[in-house]
């Protein structure tokens, strides 16, 4: 991934580093700024090199902080990655939540389409986030995996609210929501790991079929697919 792209995505307003040397900034402001820089450095370096190859030395040189500062704020590389991963996941989930709420509709299909569509658009426009949030989190150990599971599980209630609209909702197996979210994330993983996150929005109609058919059956799924436009 080109450095400028990483830089632009991480620091869209060009805020960058605080002035070095003596200044009158309160200590907690400095600490917070350093923490943010280290977290953003972690996101950028992991997107470029992958989690395994990333070192603490990469982080401190990119963030422009000392090794001592790093270890004041993080126990180790994994600890810093978890903070970075959490930041990326929160940004992604914010987009999804906005997507669901878009248009203020209470129609389930419209909300689901808005949520998945917003996520796909976000990933297509933010390849760094796609790489770190979708691909690298998987291989980075148990804490990252728990964080991922937590994010994934937060989608289940949205999907499962479809049960209120079908006959005999209890007959639909419990794991259906997990299969749908897992299927969407598996496809995102494939595309993001091949560097094709930009292609993801094209998959929205098919993902709508995936989300709708398990609750409402094949015909409704096809209908939802056919009335779904690929986001611009």
């Amino acid at each position: 991934m080109p450095q400028e792209q990483v830089q632009e995505e991480l620091d869209p307003f060009g805020t960058g580093k605080l002035p070095s040397g003596r200044h009158g900034l309160p200590r907690d402001v400095v600490v917070r700024s350093q923490r943010e820089r280290m977290v953003e450095a972690m996101i950028g370096v992991v997107a470029e090199k992958g989690y395994t190859e990333t070192t603490v030395a990469d982080i401190i040189s990119t963030a422009g902080v000392s090794r001592a500062t790093f270890y004041e704020q993080f126990a180790d590389k994994e600890d810093c990655f978890i903070a970075a991963y959490g930041t990326v996941m929160e940004r992604m989930l914010t987009f999804v939540a906005d997507g669901f709420a878009q248009g203020g509709s209470d129609d389930w299909i419209t909300q689901i389409r808005g949520g998945i569509g917003a996520l796909l658009t976000y990933l297509a426009e933010n390849p760094v986030a796609a790489r770190v949030g979708i691909v690298e989190g998987f291989g980075a150990g148990a804490r990252a995996r728990d964080r991922y599971q937590q994010a994934v599980s937060s989608f289940f209630p949205f999907l499962d609210s479809a049960r209120t609209m079908v006959d005999e909702p209890d007959r639909i197996p419990t794991q259906v929501a997990r299969v749908i979210v897992g299927g969407v994330s598996a496809l995102m993983f494939n595309e993001a790991s091949n560097g094709n996150a930009a292609e993801l929005p094209k998959m929205l109609p098919e993902m709508m079929y995936l989300a709708v058919a398990p609750y409402f059956g094949h015909d409704k799924g096809i209908e939802a697919m056919n009335e779904t436009e690929v986001p611009a």
Partner: protein, 228 residues
Amino acid sequence: MNEITPSRLPSGRHNLPREFVVTSQRDRLLDSMAQACAEKRYAEVSVADIVSRARVSRSTFYEIFPDKEACFLAAYDAILGRFVTEVIKACDDPNLTWPEMIELGIEASLKFLAAEPAFARMCIVDMFSAGPAALERYLSAVRMIATFVDAGRTMMPDRKDVPESIANMVVGGAAVVIRAEIVDERTELLPEVGPDLLYSILVFYMEKEDALERSERYAERLGFVTTS
């Protein structure tokens, strides 16, 4: 994993052909790798762990494998071969309908994983942290299984309009369900998610009611009390 792993050969001088000794050492290393991965993360497994478990020397390890990753991939390939054989044996019968084939395939897969927790963890959890070659193997296994699922489009009536990508997504989604069970240390209970997975696959390729009934019959066959 005792099937792939003969116990240790008698030490000291013996008349066994060298090739046989190497095979046995290799098998022990493969088995040790899988066992080590069941206990800790792949990243934390060292060549020292593997050789001490397998009771072979470090130099023997490096005669057989260039590095830890090669040993991991060889262990995965060895046991994947057995997995595929078992699953195909369970569902490759021309007299079976497509939904029956899917049901028996799911059942055999989950049974195998439940009986081989080390392999289950290796192929569904550790494949993501063991480098690009491991990841490519994982994705190709998913694609292979997806071809069986995608056959539903042509083998079931009126389902030509199901998108081709659904099979890959559904198999990936089923793997997420399985991964969650393994991570939560319920590997031996994996067969219980079978009926849910069956519904989640069949519903795209047949009427919803028919998919529900098949899933419920599967649950009853496993001895689960249905809630409805």
